[in-house]
């Protein structure tokens, strides 16, 4: 439970910080235009590692290399709209959306090298839901009492708006290395 406790503690602190920030920039007309500085997710930090070993996605079999497809290898625990269908990519939020600072974490196997990687599913927020390429996968998903492992939670938190638009699937390290 150490991991979870730390997660909750860190979030609680962050939300307190965010509250004043929201009051400063959150009103319409003074919406932040990018350049946000986001703190690192501790879960992510703990397991982060270089991705030199990631196989070229062009060589992956079937649709496992196509981030607009639900079978894309990194989407193994996604429940929502992949941003690659919404004007973003597997690592980029669509224009005008805000990257969520907090997130849920999955573990997906890369079919190129059969290694497991930690995936951060960050939601992109602030526009009405994208509605394209709906993916519903729940590998490793846990109930909401384990927040960092649950995709049933709207992870648009700590953002100026909590409206969910789409999700990116970012490799943050090899599984087991953290």
């Amino acid at each position: 439970m150490k991991l979870l406790d730390r997660w909750v503690e860190t979030r609680t602190r962050r939300v307190a910080q965010r509250t004043s920030r929201r009051h400063f920039v959150g009103r319409l007309g003074v919406l932040l235009l990018g350049g946000s500085v986001l703190p690192l997710l501790p879960v992510a930090r703990a397991t982060a590692a270089p991705d030199d070993g990631l196989p070229d996605e062009a060589t992956l079999p079937g649709k496992t290399g196509d981030p607009t497809n639900c079978n894309y290898w990194r989407h193994c625990a996604i429940d929502g709209f992949p941003c690659a269908c919404c004007g973003g990519s597997e690592t980029a939020c669509p224009p005008g959306t805000e990257l969520s600072a907090v997130t849920w974490i999955g573990t997906c196997r890369n079919p190129g090298n059969n290694k497991d990687y930690i995936i951060s599913y960050n939601d992109c927020c602030g526009k009405s839901p994208c509605g394209r390429c709906m993916c519903f996968r729940a590998e490793g998903d846990k109930p909401v009492y384990l927040p960092p492992k649950s995709n049933d939670i709207n992870w648009c938190q700590g953002t100026n708006s909590n409206i969910y638009h789409c999700t990116i699937s970012v490799v943050i390290g090899e599984a087991g290395s953290g």
């Binding site: 979870l4 609680t12 939300v15 602030g126 909401v144 938190q157 409206i163």
Partner: protein, 394 residues
């Protein structure tokens, strides 16, 4: 009968309303009475009786593609009649349906510019007869959002306090005094989430270590005492789903592996009854599993548990099912298997003596109605919004 009722120009439910409960029909008149003879047809606004029929069902629509515009539809599962709509607002989860006052409550989130701007969370009070919003109570803008469960909000058993689960991601519960119509306060529930009422002034939350947190409220709704149970399951081994159902003094939960965990809430502290499995060895070999959004239902008087089933691996624990299995809670025997007409993510059972089994699939705006005794498909009510989640009976 409905067809002939319809032809006479006055809808069935309106006539019921006037005849059987003498409900208020709000007539919008045309300025002065002297116009009445000039205008052959009066324009009116329909209203509902204070007491609903047992087969009237609230169908909750989170409107996933336009999640700031949630709605609930009231339908008559007998006549297929659509009775009315509540525009419940953003991040809609479920209604609270008190029995001691003709009101309906719903927590909602609003932004000044729909998807952006300043956030305001409120509990809206609707009148049960007119379906109009009559009051609202502002609560902290911290509501937990995401896939809905019946435990995102709740009423205490005495129906005085409404509880709203928060996640910012700090976990807490907002307490609202529905009698005084005021926000009471926020109760920190670190590491524990959702609200399951367990007594007149008591609720419990699920904690990340597999334990339950019990919170007792004082007369004003403040946090009087908290107690945390021992873990009753290992969330990393076989997680228990929070999509539970209450039957009298028990809360029933099912694990990913279809183990039933019954929590006795009659006393001050929850008591964990021996677990039992929904599955036989053969079921397990065939990969049967519970799944969906609202995957359990009970008929309290009959002591029956209904479970929504499909076949698949552990990663399908939220997948739709097209089977409903029925268990006798006294004997823990499976007494029936019902095959649905299509996939479902939510099931519900009406609580009267002649109950109906209800099912809906989030991907199809339709309520399907079955006979829970025979499994016979009775009817379907379609064109119900976009993304149906929780089904609520009275």
């Amino acid at each position: 009968m409905l067809a002939s009722e319809k032809r006479r120009g006055t809808p069935f439910f309106l006539r019921i309303a006037t005849m059987r409960w003498l409900a208020v029909l709000v007539f919008l008149s045309f300025g002065t009475a002297c116009f009445a003879q000039e205008l052959p047809q009066r324009m009116t606004t329909a209203a509902l009786p204070a007491e609903y029929e047992p087969h009237w069902v609230w169908v909750d629509d989170i409107a996933f593609g336009h999640m700031m515009d949630g709605r609930a539809y009231l339908v008559d599962a007998d006549s297929e009649k659509f009775l009315g709509t509540l525009s419940t607002g953003g991040f809609f989860k479920k209604l609270e349906l008190p029995t001691n006052t003709p009101e309906i409550y719903a927590a909602a989130t609003f932004y000044t510019r729909v998807n952006r701007g300043e956030r305001t969370d409120v509990v809206t009070v609707f009148d049960r007869q007119t379906l109009s919003p009559v009051d609202e109570i502002v609560i902290p803008p911290k509501r937990m959002t995401g896939a809905p469960t019946i435990a995102h909000s709740a009423l205490t058993d005495d129906q005085r306090f409404m509880l709203v689960a928060n996640l910012t991601p700090a976990q807490s519960v907002s307490v609202v005094d529905m009698q005084e119509r005021k926000f009471v306060g926020e109760i920190a529930t670190p590491g524990c989430t959702l609200v399951f009422p367990t007594g007149p002034r008591r609720f419990m939350s699920f904690c990340g270590d597999g334990s339950l947190l019990t919170v007792n409220l004082d007369a004003e709704g403040n946090d009087a005492r908290q107690a945390r149970s021992e873990p009753f399951f290992d969330p990393w081994q076989d997680p228990v789903s929070v999509k539970g159902v209450r039957v009298n003094d028990q809360w029933l939960f099912v694990s990913f592996d279809s183990q039933v965990h019954a929590v006795d809430i009659a006393g001050e502290e929850p008591r964990f009854l021996p677990t039992w499995s929904l599955l036989t060895d053969k079921d397990r070999r065939d990969s049967w599993r519970t799944g969906g959004i609202q995957m359990l239902a009970v008929h309290e008087k009959r002591g029956l548990l209904f479970t929504l089933m499909h076949r698949g691996g552990i990663e399908t624990h939220k997948d739709p099912g097209n089977r409903v299995w029925v268990y006798d809670l006294a004997t823990r025997e499976r007494i029936r298997k019902i095959k649905l007409k299509g996939a479902a993510t939510s099931i519900q059972v009406t609580q009267d003596d002649d109950p109906l089994l209800l099912a809906a699939f989030i991907g199809m705006p339709k309520l399907t109605v079955y006979d829970p005794d025979t499994g016979e498909h009775l009817r379907s009510i379609s064109q119900l919004g976009s993304t149906i989640t929780i089904l609520q009976t009275n």
